[in-house]
Symmetry: C2
Subunit: 509 residues, 2 copies
Amino acid sequence: MNKNRRPGGKENSMKDSIKALRELEKRLYAYQYAMAVADYDSETVAPPESSAGRAEAMEVLSRAYFDQLVSADTAALLQRAAADAETEQEKAEVRELQRSYDEIGKIPAEEYAAFTKLTQESMPAWGKAKRGNDFASFAPYLEKIVESLRAQAHYFAPDRDPYEVWLDRYEHGLTIAQCDTFFAALRETIVPLLAAIKERGSAIRTDFLYQNWPIEQQRKLSKKIMEVWGLDPDHCVLGETEHPFTSGFWHGDVRITTHYMPQDMFSNLYSVAHEGGHALYELNVDPKYDYTTLAGGATTGLHESQSRLFENYVGRSRAFIHYLYPTLLELFPQQLNGVTEEEIYRAVNRAEPSLIRTEADELTYSLHIMVRYELEKALMQGTLTVADLPAAWNAKYKEYLGVDVPDDTHGCLQDIHWAMGDMGYFPSYALGSAYSAQAVDDLRKTMDLDAQWAEGNMQPLKDALRSRVWQHGRAKEPQWLVQSLCGGAFDAAHYTNYLKNKYTELYGL
Amino acid sequence: MNKNRRPGGKENSMKDSIKALRELEKRLYAYQYAMAVADYDSETVAPPESSAGRAEAMEVLSRAYFDQLVSADTAALLQRAAADAETEQEKAEVRELQRSYDEIGKIPAEEYAAFTKLTQESMPAWGKAKRGNDFASFAPYLEKIVESLRAQAHYFAPDRDPYEVWLDRYEHGLTIAQCDTFFAALRETIVPLLAAIKERGSAIRTDFLYQNWPIEQQRKLSKKIMEVWGLDPDHCVLGETEHPFTSGFWHGDVRITTHYMPQDMFSNLYSVAHEGGHALYELNVDPKYDYTTLAGGATTGLHESQSRLFENYVGRSRAFIHYLYPTLLELFPQQLNGVTEEEIYRAVNRAEPSLIRTEADELTYSLHIMVRYELEKALMQGTLTVADLPAAWNAKYKEYLGVDVPDDTHGCLQDIHWAMGDMGYFPSYALGSAYSAQAVDDLRKTMDLDAQWAEGNMQPLKDALRSRVWQHGRAKEPQWLVQSLCGGAFDAAHYTNYLKNKYTELYGL
């Protein structure tokens, strides 16, 4: 009998470390679940002045999460599990948990909990400031957030640019240099296109866009989009918030939200289309990753690639608008009386410099992102103060988009991201668009997407995306997933070509 | 210099134990907050098939709560703090935390967490079973709940009747003998009254009750009730659920829910009135008890006394219906065309044996409670099996209320309480009514409540209740609070006299 192979020997102890790892992962899941549901509640149905008690609870919970993750026990467990991991899943769990450990392990526990509490307080403060056009009341929160994010970056990598630390956090491997190059390419494409459109673009009918669109009918349209996307109502519900978002608690419970505008039906339509793309990703992660660090979408860029794919590449395509047209006519017979599907297609794709990112068209959208990229970089690098933010914001909107910002509500207070403590997230919106442009180009090689979308048939597309990306959760490295999605090495030219072709045709340039 | 009085001596170490106690209390608060918000979410907006991931998270969180509360460290801390406590608040905190410790300290941690997970699963199972009239699908959950509650009672007091352990848990000091006496008195009052009404009661107009009451108008009525009760919308919101309830996260965040019935306007009216009474209690606990064990209402009986006071003593009074009448006419001009306020008063107070507890009138309500009291006592004492519950339920409804139960949806599946793991709670509904009858009698000695209610002025009543009960949270012992509320030793005769006088007058007996 070979002692090395006896039961109860090394093989069994290997299993023990993985088992302990899974138990830790489930504990971490539970705290994340609790914080996610409290966040969702706070954004959707909580009474306006309820944040103090939530912040107290969140501080304790985030501290408990921190204590579970960052400890000598966890460090030792990760070492044992790294040696013991056999399957691809086990190895990926160790890798992702080690990454989480490294990301927050150097932050003092008190600072980590205080930051959670700070963002709990800053989100409602932002909501109030936005409603009241009162940047000054939000500024002290933003100052503390910038200060804390700089400190956290410094703990993690004292010698690295603090903004790049956060870029890398959201999109592993992304550098400031890459971002600069990427945005320069976009700028070189978009700015001449916009100029050409302004100069000689054929007119687009917009008279029907701003009228009275009953909310009850808009709700029916949301339901229709969720049905076509195939968002199972047993596992995915739609709420209403100031700023639409998606929150995945686990693969069987994903929430999306929208914002109804009585004067603008298309805003909700494309919010649901966008958040629905996020939700499809979360809902379709392989259940075998439930309650582990491998559950959920991999990076923010990959997440945005899915949401923008469904919002823009599907939702704003001629094929899909052809499919949706009868529903739109049925829901809004008076409002769309005499409006053709081609006119709807042109209207929802028109390029028009504007004030609000979430309402922006596909072409100018990246300019909105560029403003935020440059400003958050400057805030994090210390070359811009919070007090100077509104003026800097307004100047960049004038420079890149040619619009005058009338107030901070429609300016630097419009997005919740910074109030949530997210800086370095915005570039992922533009990257996501670029990933999905390439993915759609690649899928078209073997699939007649337009024919499918014209019939409201999302199944072949969803099957491909599930296979390439969704099912994997975080089990694969982000670079692997981007290549898998794109069908090859990432190349931003697919996106710039897409914009050039689309807008040249649309405006007869 | 007297060494006994030097700083850093005994006085400082006393403060340390209290400080540590407060930190523990805040941690416990955070876990309770997380579980409460997840529960509320699950009852209000969560997708139907989302319970699996919630149950996993809840199991971890309740286990963490248990581990925080029940440990050698906590036991030692409680001992130190008991010796060190100086102020009334400190002493009360020690007392209440010790009570919590004693209540769950003897339950094995795994069983405690498993019970939380079980109730997470049984609540949606109950909802499904109720919707589908499928008791068999819910029975296995209820069997496990009964088994676990019996086991928990046994751990706590092995020699005591397990049902009495739970009665005492909800209403400290309550015994089965007291309950038997109390319900016997109610029975002696109610049964002859009901017989007299049936025999010679004057007729009550009910033709206007069941018609089409638009939900949108019902929503406006909910808002009106919340305004008159003075429920600050900054701290209290109304949701919609199958079964109305109140959930207080902390004194600044209290949620109430209702259920709209298109054919029955008064159901929602009195649900909001009832839950609003619970909410007023939670909202008015002194903020100095925030995040301690003294926050929130004291016992379920005291809580029900407040909800039933606002539902019945205020909401079903002639004075308040006089006040509300113009609003009702404005919201429902067609439905109430030709209906007088006296006819509304008589209709909402009519006594009529029925199937559904939450829809029951004030007189027969206690008979519904008596059915549940007797059945849950039998389940807990092992003299009734879960399999036999539907038949036993139907037999008692026939015996006490004279009605035939058509199906379990309208029978033993109607209430969520048992699915939540609450057995021993129901008697508090009847006790609460009796407490508030006595409180109202006492307040009338010095206040003209009818004159105030006829003007929609709840302030003097609220001031009195805040002073007598609400502000104290759990800082006072329940017996003290009951006496304070009632203005003297509790005497059920106030309640039986109230019922006799009210129904004798109403039906001209």
